[in-house]
């Protein structure tokens, strides 16, 4: 069957929604919306990305959202290289909402899927090169010389000994047509691409001056805290707000779609008011549910057999004929993203327009949601994008923006809504839990002859539609949204496999006979994309199985992988590079190595983890990480993303779990949802493979291999094959 990756799914759903988009937003589409760029007289704004001012300053409107992945530095570097002007000379602005800022790979404005550099590279290199050519043409005209007598260097037109800043030629440049078919810069002459230099947002972030959604302050602003149901699926039955209203500073109490909002002069007063509120909740289908009951449902779904997603050869026959077989069952729990900045948004709804200030992974969607809930046209909504205090997928779903809009509409004031950490951990939109089973067989030569893999759990796609359609198509009535989501949900239960659910279970190695099945089991717990999505759990199952197979084949685990990577040179390259650490590292007594490799988001990563197990606690001392992401734009940012993904992945591998108890999420804050700390952090050594291939993403691919690498090391340390996450729990129970 046809496979839908997250990216292509989003594109297809956006396209599928295209007809509906026209039907529901036609009036708003009649004139192209204005670019959200404030202009001074004499400014030259050739496109949505660049603004040249007569004082010589240049602004770059970064189309993708900065959540820490370094995209403002990376995309500035690309346009800077084309324009031949140092990245440090640009003032980087976070772009507002406009179709011109769409992600070229998805067709709308979204940052995710490790796509930013991959999808914007050619676009922004072209923009830079064309404008450089334009400035050369303008300079030739103004200086009265042949263009061939001119060249450029770091923002200057060079004519013999004379140097003229680009800014000198703005007036003429604005009158000339943009040169066409300008050749892209020869990679051999790159001056900034491939060079490690400090991030452009470093000074702001080291001095506390970077502005996040939570930092926005507008005149007359009030603060809101929302009390939501303890069990997903419950709604407000009734509430008593007399005690809440008596808290000094509390101004009003408003019921909204997701709960009850307490609005006050300051945050602390709103929080105290929320604590004083008494709400009676309706019953929910999840009342009484627990992690154990959910897992039993997944086990039953696996036993009944899932829908086949992909297969080749005859896996049943191959398993029966196998010389040796390995069968393992894997568990991965629900996880929260827990970005350091909890969800926050400021929204001001007025009679004929509205504004929203927030750091999101989709400013266009934020504007759409405000329009929908304020009853306005999207053209009447101004979106102010801020830095994101972490996201990891969580800031792609903007229920908090919808909440803030409803509250501001009721109060008539600008409202800052802030989720507490408890709201964040208990408010849903999790990495879905998964139960997986892999049965694999080896032939007489020790090669894999059969690979039969299945996963049971919730699908991300219907929930994504539920949250994204109202935002992307604000003109679509609620009833139609519900109908589309219902159709998608039914389709995924019956005859389509959500590729995000199974991605990574089978693709990397040569498997002559394989089958992958998916058993959908929905419980109504909101789920979404979490850093590396399906790969975050499938790599664990796949790579632990690979080690078990290598053992059954009596083979070195790295050599065993290489023997199955003859058709996958990018993976083979990183595995061979990591083999140097695997073979070369000297280990202190009590230390053991584990290996894992995984390809995701077009990037290959192999990791070696050096681990010890003391008093039942797993400690990771050192990690080697080889990454092939094609052309390296800024090697230091790639290294930082690998380091960060290892830490984020280690939190999940060692500690991460959200449990359900009597229908409610048990964990509430960092004491029972612990995050890796500096005294647990391993040293990370990163090697970036030399490559002139097109650049690919680095935000997510560093994460999937770390959990299996650690689990494989624990096996060598203890003889215990851990197949459940988090590993510290699994080791205690093993």
């Amino acid at each position: 069957m046809s496979q839908l990756s997250r990216r292509s799914f989003l594109r297809h759903s956006a396209l599928a929604g295209g007809g509906l988009l026209v039907a529901f937003t036609l009036p708003g589409c009649s004139a192209p919306p204005r670019l959200p760029i404030a202009r001074e007289q004499g400014d030259f704004v050739p496109n949505a990305f660049l603004q040249f001012a007569s004082d010589g300053s240049v602004r770059f409107f970064c189309p993708r959202d900065e959540m820490g992945q370094g995209v403002t530095t990376g995309l500035t570097t690309i346009v800077a290289e084309g324009l031949d002007m140092a990245p440090q000379r640009f003032t980087v602005e976070l772009a507002g909402a406009h179709p011109d800022y769409a992600n070229p790979g998805m067709g709308f404005q979204v940052t995710g899927g490790s796509t930013s550099v991959k999808e914007h590279f050619t676009q922004l290199m072209t923009v830079g090169c064309e404008l450089r050519a334009l400035f050369l043409a303008a300079a030739a005209k103004d200086l009265g010389v042949a263009e061939s007598a001119l060249t450029t260097e770091d923002g200057m037109i060079v004519h013999g000994e004379a140097r003229h800043p680009y800014g000198q030629f703005l007036t003429t440049a604005a009158t000339l047509p943009l040169p066409e078919a300008v050749p892209l810069k020869d990679p051999a002459t790159y001056r900034w691409i491939g060079t490690a230099f400090p991030r452009l947002d470093g000074p702001q972030k080291a001095t506390g001056t970077a502005v996040y959604g939570i930092d926005i302050d507008v005149p007359g602003m009030e603060y809101a805290v929302v009390v939501r149901p303890p069990v997903f699926g419950a709604t407000v039955a009734s509430f008593d707000d007399s005690a809440a209203r008596a808290v000094p500073g509390v101004r009003t109490v408003v019921e909204i779609a997701t709960g009850v909002a307490v609005v006050a002069e300051h945050f602390w007063q709103a929080k105290k008011g929320a604590e004083a509120l008494t709400v009676r909740w309706s019953a929910s289908p999840l009342d009484g549910a627990s992690t154990a009951s959910l897992r039993a449902d997944y086990a039953e779904a696996l036993a009944m057999g899932g829908k086949e997603a992909e297969s080749t050869g005859d896996v049943v026959k191959a398993l029966a004929a196998a010389e040796k077989t390995v069968e393992l069952e894997f568990w991965a729990p629900f996880l929260a993203h827990a970005p350091m900045e909890p969800m926050s948004a400021v929204v001001h709804v007025r009679e004929n327009d509205a504004e929203v200030w927030a750091g999101t992974q989709g400013p266009g969607a934020a504007g759409g949601l405000v329009a929908r809930h304020a009853g306005l046209d999207p053209a009447q909504v101004t979106v102010h994008q801020t830095y994101l205090g972490g996201a990891f997928g969580r800031r792609g779903t903007l229920t908090h923006v919808a909440e803030a809009t409803q509250i501001s509409k009721a109060t008539g004031t600008p409202v800052k809504l802030l989720w507490t950490r408890e709201d964040d951990l208990r408010g849903g939109l999790y990495r879905p839990a998964s139960l997986m089973r892999i049965r694999a067989g080896l032939d007489k030569s020790g090669q894999i002859s059969a690979w039969d893999a299945e996963r049971a759990g919730a699908n991300i796609t219907p929930e994504t539609l539920r949250n994204s359609l109202p935002a992307l198509l604000p003109g679509m009535p609620e009833g139609i949204v519900d109908w589309v989501v219902g159709v998608a949900d039914k389709a995924h239960r019956g005859w389509i496999v959500d590729h995000s659910s199974i991605e990574g279970l089978y693709e990397d190695y040569s498997l002559p006979n394989f089958a992958v099945r998916h058993a959908t089991k929905e419980h109504g717990i909101p789920v979404t994309f979490w850093r590396s999505v399906g790969h975050s759990y499938t790599a664990f199952a796949k790579e632990v199985t690979m080690d078990a197979l290598a053992e059954a084949a009596n083979a070195d685990p790295v050599a065993f992988r290489l023997a199955h990577l003859k058709d996958n040179p990018r993976m083979a390259g990183v595995v061979a590079k990591a083999q140097e650490a695997w073979n070369g590292w000297t280990l202190a007594p009590g230390r053991h190595l584990g290996f894992a490799a995984h390809h995701s988001f077009a990037t290959s990563v192999a990791q070696v983890a050096e681990v010890s197990v003391d008093d039942g606690a797993i400690r990771v001392h050192r990690v080697f990480c080889a990454v092939d992401c094609g052309l390296a734009i800024n090697p230091d940012i790639i290294r930082a993303q690998m380091e960060g993904a290892v830490m984020y992945g280690l939190t999940a591998a060692l500690h991460g779990k959200l449990e359900l108890e009597n229908g409610a999420v048990k964990q509430s804050n960092f004491h029972d949802y612990p995050i890796l700390r500096i005294d647990e952090a391993p040293k990370v050594e990163v090697v970036i493979m030399e490559s002139q291939e097109a650049p690919t993403g680095v935000g997510e691919p560093g994460l999937p291999p770390i959990a299996p690498a650690v689990a494989n090391a624990v096996y060598r340390a203890t003889g215990k094959r851990l197949t459940e996450l988090p590993l510290n729990d699994a080791l205690r129970l093993a």
């Binding site: 820490g68 470093g202 350091m340 960092f670 005294d679």
Partner: protein, 172 residues
Amino acid sequence: MLRFTLNGKTVETDLAPDTPLLWAVRDGFKLKGSKFGCGAGLCGACTMHVDGVAQKTCVLPLAAVAGRAVTTIEGVTATGAAEALQAAWVAQSVSQCGYCQSGQIMAASALLAQNPNPTEADVEAAMAGNICRCGCYPRIKSAVLAAAATLAPDAVVQGTPFKDAMAREASA
């Protein structure tokens, strides 16, 4: 009316004395550099100095700082080690999302004020109360040690990309 010193200036507030210092500073005095991460003293995003000691201010009531000297990220640059730390932070690109970094710098500057020559283990012990979800820990450690080295009496001061960068910020 409650009085204390905020970044060297005497200030007064009529907020309830049980209001955590973090919210008084953010909402009352409009200094947004100190961040909210957990509200339970577990993550350190809200770290400020009270009489020179690093404190988690999301659980520190205003009443506890009456008459005392509070320093936030906005006021710390003028004090001792912070500038060296910020220079090392920029040079080593420590920050990713950056949200926790004010708290990290405050914890690190309190450490260096007390222990100008920390070991790796000292840094880990002093900074273990500060969570970074982006996982910048290896760089935090290395930047604190680098800052300590530049502050040593016999240190040769290298170029200052941080100062250049800040000058650009200021002129932008």
